[in-house]
Amino acid sequence: MIQLNSFLIISAIVFSLGLFTVIYKKNAVGILMGVELILNSVNLNFIAFSKYVDVHINGQLVAIFIIVLAAAEAAIALAIILNIYRDRANIDVTQLDEMKH
């Protein structure tokens, strides 16, 4: 049978890849993708635990909420990215550093 750990390992790997993407990519959309990867790995964890550990299926409910959130977040993020793009003709994150000291 498939043990809980394998699922945890998969979500761990995908989580780190997502994290890597967020740090690695200069393109704002790339970062968005990374975030999506992280969220998905978290969902996987939730669902894995609700399957293997939890008597009840709370995990899956939380996963649902996360998915809804992810959708809303992606919408807002892209709206912002579009605005930035309209303003500065590129969405290179390293140049968006007006918040510098």
């Binding site: 994290l19 967020v22 740090i23 968006l96 550093d97 007006e98 918040m99 510098k100 000291h101």
Partner: protein, 681 residues
């Protein structure tokens, strides 16, 4: 008796107060006030003398005293002690004082501070009489100093002349040095005997409460007071300068009365003089006699000659007391008072005359200088006659009072020397006889230079004229008092005063010291005394005549060329002329030394002590400056330092905010990783 004595004493004081307060406004400037006062005292003194003569008892004593200061254990009583000695002294002082008062009418006429002169004369008479009458040493000391201040005032009478002011100051300070000795002697007597009263002291000493070295010390110290007052050797410098004062003053104070106070004191205290003290007294007296006689030879100022002669004669009296010839010493005091006062007054009338003639011819010179006198015999017959009598008396020529007293002293000193087993004491009679010869010489040198020979300044000579009656009458009375028979009334023998009333009244008091030591200070066998007396007589007459002849040879017959002789003994002559440079020595050592010492102390006071005070203030002030600096730099520095460190640290932290969002994510990840690792360990 006591009331009359009190009257005699207090009248001059009353005159003084009246004179000082209302002198200017009184008619004739109040001179009559003083004269009447002293006149009454004079008459009262005569009455006292008559009473003493009627009693004719050497032991005659009247005393009375009242408590003055009473502090429980420490008591001082003040009273009068009236015995023959005091009565005769009263007589002397009042007569001379009265005559001087009369004489001054003429001499001081027209002086600017005429009234003040008489006030000072009265004050002086008061203090001199007080000195005679008091029955205790403390009282005598008080009067002693008052007499000193009067002499200061009178010497410095012409205070506009710096020399007079200086002389006054010098006189007072030299007297004060003497008084210092007197005070210490006084204290020794008081601490060991607990009393100042003379009779109690006599009792105390005879009971041996004060004896040995301390007694001698007390005696010598009290004698120091006499040295100061009677101008004996070390402290004689003030008397010649005191001639700055008007001549009547010199006559009264510096011839007859004040200077005699020292001798009077020694006479009063002779009972307590131990043998060593007597020796010191004798030698100081003898040496002074010879020493000042040698100076008198070369002086050219009449009053200076007389001043040194006074010092010399005082030396005689002190020597007499020293050798135990008590009555002779006191007798010489009385006779000397008369003819020396006379001499001064006579020289005063000469000076007065010269002064007036100088004013007339408009010449400015020193009226006292004998060198521009000469041949005054014809112009001033009375003054010349009187001057001659006094000089003969002073030189010790028979038939004059001076001879009686001086011869007695010389005889006494000879007897003393004979009685002593130690030949050294023959020095005293040698001093005496030598001085006698020199006295005769300089007196006649003076007479010749002023009265005989031809006038050295003819213009001056015309205007010389005899002094007015008020001046010549006192001179004549004094001349009369210088004749011998006045003192030897019951016996006419001119050679000795033994039979006289004077010798009868004045007995040598029993020396308390001898009773204490159980043996007489020295025995004088009857025979030795007589022998000494006769031989003394012979020698003194011979020497006096020799002196006179020498004077005539030198100055009248000009046998010996005076200038050549002075050239030959130039150094000796200069030495004597300049008074053995004693004044200069004193000035150089004592006075300048003192001034330098004072300046040093004053500098010390200013620089060192004030310096200390100011430097502490300086140190405190600088310390506060340092404190301020420390405060601003160190403490503030610290505070600012912390501030800047924080801001520097903050600046370095700012770099972390790169604006790159991905760095922050990375940072967050690293942070969480570290935290997890830490919790794991």
């Amino acid at each position: 008796m006591i009331q009359t004595a009190l009257f005699i004493w207090l009248l001059p004081l009353a005159a003084f107060t009246i004179q000082i307060l209302f002198g200017k406004r009184l008619p004739r400037k109040g001179d009559w006030v003083s004269i009447t006062a002293i006149g009454i005292s004079f008459v009262l003194a005569i009455s006292l003398l008559i009473q003493a003569l009627t009693h004719y008892d050497p032991e005659f004593v009247v005393t009375a005293s009242i408590p003055w200061i009473d502090l429980g254990s420490f008591k001082i009583n003040m009273g009068i002690y009236l015995d023959n000695l005091a009565i005769i002294m009263l007589m002397v002082v009042t007569t001379v004082s009265f005559l001087v008062h009369v004489y001054s009418l003429g001499y001081m006429k027209g002086e600017t501070y005429y009234n003040r002169f008489y006030a000072y004369l009265s004050l002086f008479s008061f203090s001199m009489l007080g000195l005679i009458l008091w029955d205790n040493l403390f009282g005598i000391y008080i009067m002693w100093e008052l007499v000193g201040i009067c002499s200061y005032l009178l010497i410095g009478f012409y205070f506009e002349k710096d020399s007079a002011a200086n002389a006054g100051k010098k006189a007072f300070i030299t007297n004060r040095v003497g008084d210092f000795g007197f005070l210490i002697g006084l204290l020794i007597v008081f601490t060991s005997l607990g009393t100042f009263n003379l009779s109690e002291i006599n009792l105390g000493v005879s009971q041996g409460m004060l004896s040995g070295g301390l007694l001698t010390a007390a005696g010598i110290l009290l004698f120091a007071g006499a040295i100061g007052k009677s101008a004996q050797f070390p402290l004689h410098v003030w008397l010649p300068d005191a001639m700055e004062g008007p001549t009547p003053v010199s006559a009264l104070i510096h011839a007859a009365t004040m200077v005699a106070a020292g001798v009077y004191l020694m006479a009063r205290l002779s009972f307590m003089l131990s043998f060593d003290a007597m020796l010191v007294v004798a030698y100081v007296g003898g040496f002074t006699a010879l020493f000042s006689a040698t100076i008198a030879i070369t002086q050219n100022d009449i009053k200076r000659v007389l001043a040194y002669s006074t010092i010399s004669q005082l030396g005689y009296m002190i020597m007499a007391i020293g050798v135990g010839a008590y009555t002779a010493g006191f007798f010489h005091l009385v006779t000397h008072a008369m003819f020396k006062a006379g001499l001064f007054l006579a020289s005063g009338s000469v000076i007065h005359a010269v002064h007036h003639s100088m004013d007339k011819i408009g010449e400015h010179g020193d009226p006292n200088d004998m060198r521009n006198m000469g041949g005054f015999k014809s112009k001033m017959p009375i003054t010349y006659l009187v001057f001659l009598i006094f000089s003969l008396a002073l030189s010790g020529i028979p038939f004059f009072s001076g001879f009686l007293s001086k011869d007695a002293i010389l005889g006494g000193s000879l007897a003393f020397a004979l009685a002593q087993h130690n030949p050294i004491h023959f020095l005293l009679p040698v001093f005496g006889f030598l001085a006698a010869a020199i006295t005769a010489f300089y007196m006649f040198r003076l007479i010749i230079m002023t009265f005989y020979g031809e006038p050295k300044k003819p213009k001056l000579f015309e205007h010389i004229h005899e002094s007015p009656k008020t001046m010549t009458i006192p001179l004549l009375t004094l001349a009369f008092l210088s004749l011998f028979f006045v003192y030897t009334i019951p016996s006419i023998n001119p050679t000795t005063g033994e039979g006289g009333w004077f010798y009868h009244l004045i007995e040598k008091p029993v020396s308390a010291v001898s009773t204490q030591l159980g043996h007489a200070v020295y025995q004088m066998t009857e025979h030795a005394e007589h022998l000494a007396h006769v031989s003394g007589l012979m020698i003194s007459i011979v020497l006096a005549l020799a002196g006179i002849l020498l004077a005539f040879a030198f100055y009248f017959w000009k046998k010996i060329d005076v200038e050549a002789l002075t050239e030959k003994i130039k150094p000796l002559y200069l030495l004597s002329l300049n008074k053995y440079y004693i004044d200069e020595i004193y000035n150089a050592t004592v006075i300048r030394g003192l001034l330098i010492w004072n300046d040093f102390l004053s500098w010390f006071d200013g620089a060192v002590i004030d310096g200390l005070v100011n430097s502490t203030a300086w140190i405190v002030r600088n310390f506060s400056v340092l404190d301020g600096l420390f405060d601003t730099y160190v403490v503030d520095g610290l505070v600012n330092g912390v501030g800047s460190a924080v801001s520097a640290f903050g600046k370095s932290l700012r770099k972390v905010q790169t604006g790159q969002i991905q760095n922050y994510v990375l940072g967050a990840v690293l942070g969480t990783a570290i935290i997890i690792i830490l919790t794991m360990i």
